[in-house]
């Protein structure tokens, strides 16, 4: 209320006087970043663009430091990283008190984003007659699912949606992944993945509850996460969903497993994100279809997020959709992890093109998010 009251007064006369002066070009370019930083939308918390670019430079299409063999060997590590990210998502997934509406809003926002990106990219793929081997619908769905997660980088309360909008894409992705990879019926694959996650989490929980000290707990926790990722990769299942199920289990199970998981996995979160981004960047082939699909992914993700924010704002009880959208625009690494999981389950040229397009599109989404005017400029 107070803020709206200030808005009604119009621009600050001092600011207006300063704005009339000549502003250097660099300052003008940096203005959106400064504004976002001031609002708690730290632009460098998950620098997707930076690490994907670094990965591309190190990858086979760049300097070749990270060759095709190296990437193949990292696939299991990527699956373990995806499982760890799934655990983080699972730990944050259950709506806290009074958050049920927020959860519905987040899922609605994710659904709208998925639909917009899948429709646009599906249309383009049909026009280009690409990815016929993978299937037009499946390819568009992979792109839509990869676009939906947002980075939970914002510090203000509305960005809680960024935590919660991962759930629906992870579950739908777990249904889709067996369709693309091994010959497992989708529902059976979903059940198997959930069973794997819960089973490993149960073992981990028993070990964690009987551990003698913190060091032993850390070893049990890391072992459980490695088991989740390795087993999911081996079976061609979604490591993300297995991790999500494990995180959820630890959250609802009695004891302090969720606290231990948050505390002991936390220090590795940034490392895992960097690993995923570097691998995703290294997998980008500098080819016209990858770049074109990546551009479409970035633009329609932006559109989908804004539309999703409009749809979700009334459900969440928020009055400013643009403020909500600002917290959702930064791409979530879970989307990239899902695209990498598709490439792992189906190592062919189509899946590589998709994963490359998602990585490039996510890297492009970040500067687009920085340049989108945040709500504080509404009065200007």
């Amino acid at each position: 209320m107070k803020r709206e009251g200030l808005d009604e007064l119009g621009p600050d006369p001092i600011d207006a006087a300063i704005e009339t002066g000549r502003v250097p070009l660099l300052s003008r370019l940096a203005a959106p970043l400064r504004q976002r930083a001031a609002l708690g939308l730290d632009p460098a918390l998950a620098p997707v663009a930076v690490f994907v670019a670094l990965g591309f430079a190190a990858g086979p299409a760049g300097l070749g430091v990270l060759g095709a063999d190296g990437l193949a060997r990292l696939e299991t590590a990527v699956a373990i990283a995806a499982a760890a990210l799934g655990v983080f998502a699972g730990l944050e997934l259950l709506p806290r008190t009074g958050e049920r509406r927020l959860f519905v809003a987040a899922s609605l926002e994710a659904l709208v984003t998925m639909a917009v990106v899948a429709a646009a990219t599906g249309y383009l793929l049909a026009e280009w007659e690409l990815l016929a081997g993978l299937g037009l619908g499946s390819a568009a769905l992979v792109l839509g699912l990869s676009a939906a997660p947002s980075a939970a980088s914002a510090l203000f309360g509305e960005s809680r949606l960024a935590d919660l909008d991962d759930a629906l894409p992870i579950v739908l992705g777990a249904v889709l992944l067996p369709v693309l990879g091994p010959d497992i019926p989708p529902l059976e694959g979903l059940a198997l993945t959930a069973a794997l996650g819960v089973g490993a989490a149960l073992c981990g929980w028993l070990l964690l509850e009987h551990a003698r000290d913190a060091a032993e707990r850390a070893v049990f926790l890391l072992g459980t996460v490695a088991l989740l990722g390795g087993a999911a990769a081996s079976l061609g299942l979604s490591a993300l969903l297995a991790g999500l199920a494990a995180g959820l289990f630890w959250r609802v199970a009695p004891g302090a497993a969720d606290v231990v998981a948050r505390r002991d996995l936390g220090p590795f979160q940034h490392l895992l994100v960097v690993l995923l981004l570097i691998v995703a960047g290294a997998g980008i082939a500098f080819e016209p279809p990858v770049l074109a699909l990546g551009v479409a992914f970035a633009f329609f993700r932006l559109t989908g997020k804004l539309l999703g924010a409009f749809a979700a704002a009334p459900v969440a009880g928020l009055r400013r959709p643009s403020a909500l959208a600002a917290g959702l625009l930064t791409p979530g690494v879970i989307g990239i992890a899902f695209a990498l999981a598709v490439r792992g389950a189906r190592p062919d040229a189509d899946a590589a093109l998709l994963a490359g397009a998602v990585a490039f599109g996510a890297a492009l989404s970040e500067p687009l998010a920085w340049l989108t005017p945040p709500p504080s400029s509404a009065a200007a």
Partner: protein
């Protein structure tokens, strides 16, 4: 009509920009990529392990075949099977044989009858460019190429070697132990870029690679040993794990001048007052009739000299129905002077019909010096009478 709400304006601008991008991108056309390849289902272990591309391997082996062609020499093996030799220098080739005592090829220049190494005469004009050598202390996992003889000529086979490790062999001295690969003695190993690794030899019930300076030492020792006359008939080895440790007698041939003088298990402390650096050097020193060897046998220390003449006819025999078969004849021995050859069958020896190897040793040992023993030997259906004189 411009919307008042900032949020709506932002949304409409974004949608407009996105639709413009969509229309622009939809006009693009990409060259047809052809039918999508079938999905490649890799097992997790394949994802984790080294993945050499099969096509690359095939290309490398094909290139190598052309390059190695002038260096490899096909020959008939002593066991009747095809065998292979490697050009060692411009006039000589090196090979390994499972039956060196049967070596009768006119091209053979030298034979190490204890180990089976052969040096053959093989001149090529012009000689091919010498192969570079690769002599690692340890390596692996690695793909190598094994040149192996076959009924249709020699062939190159890619061999995946888990690990190569320098080790010590009682028979060969320094060798490379190979793990994770099945190798055939007598074949030669090369790197995929054409460097010579070595000769596969039998060792300790398996196979090892004789390579580097030790392969050169064996070949040079053979080159100094015309017609294989120099082998003393004594095989020496070193105790495992002792590169400069005591030399131990592994076996003494019955025709050797050291027979009944040295025994298997004797430890040699010195030969002719010196301590040989290698088993090869020691075996060469034992050729000398003047060699005096200090030996430790159990707790006793002995000084041993070779006999002037061996108290044996110089025959290696294998018992067979109808009479012992001659497997090998020692050069310059009474048997060689009598005209016996490998492959002969003894139908009578000093009055004993269809003799066994033990009969021959007993009758020869019982005969006085200067006695002329009558021998009936045959090859196939042909039989001939010979005189074997005990010197």
């Amino acid at each position: 009509m411009v919307p008042e709400s900032r949020e709506l304006r932002l949304l409409l601008v974004t949608i407009g920009a996105s639709l413009a991008v969509l229309v622009g991108l939809a006009r693009l056309r990409f060259p047809a990529a052809g039918p999508a390849p079938p999905p490649q289902q890799l097992l997790p272990i394949d994802r984790l392990g080294p993945q050499a591309l099969y096509e690359d391997l095939v290309r490398a082996v094909a290139r190598l075949e052309t390059r190695l062609g002038p260096h490899l020499v096909e020959r008939a093996g002593e066991d009747g099977r095809p065998a292979l030799a490697l050009l060692w220098n411009s006039t000589q080739a090196l090979a390994w044989s499972p039956l060196p005592e049967r070596a009768s090829d006119a091209r053979i220049l030298a034979v190490d009858r204890g180990r089976g190494l052969l040096l053959l005469r093989h001149a090529t004009s012009p000689p091919p460019a010498a192969l570079a050598e690769w002599s690692p202390e340890a390596a692996g996992p690695i793909y190598l190429a094994a040149a192996e003889p076959g009924p249709g000529g020699w062939a190159l086979r890619p061999v995946y070697v888990g690990r190569l490790r320098a080790t010590h062999s009682t028979t060969w001295g320094g060798v490379l132990a190979v793990s994770g690969a099945s190798l055939t003695p007598g074949s030669f190993l090369f790197t995929l870029d054409g460097r010579r690794l070595g000769l596969v030899v039998p060792d300790a019930g398996g196979a090892a690679v004789l390579a580097g300076s030790n392969l050169r030492a064996h070949a040079e020792s053979l080159a100094r040993d015309p017609r294989g006359a120099a082998w003393s008939g004594v095989r020496l080895g070193r105790l495992p794990g002792e590169a400069r440790g005591a030399l131990v007698v592994l076996s003494v041939e019955e025709w050797s001048t050291w027979a009944a003088r040295l025994r298997s298990g004797d430890t040699l402390e010195s030969i002719a007052g010196g301590e040989p650096a290698s088993t090869l050097e020691a075996e060469e020193a034992l050729r000398s009739a003047a060699a005096v060897v200090r030996v430790r046998r159990g707790s006793a220390r002995l000084q041993v000299r070779p006999a002037r003449e061996p108290d044996a006819p110089g025959l290696r025999l294998a018992d067979a129905p109808g009479g012992a078969r001659v497997v090998g004849v020692a050069p310059d021995s009474p048997a060689a002077r009598s005209g016996l050859h490998a492959g002969d069958r003894l139908s009578a020896f000093d009055g004993v019909e269809a003799p066994t190897a033990a009969d021959v040793a007993r009758r020869y040992g019982a005969a006085r010096r200067g006695t002329r023993l009558v021998v009936v030997a045959g090859h196939g259906r042909e039989a001939r009478a010979l005189v074997l004189e005990k010197p």
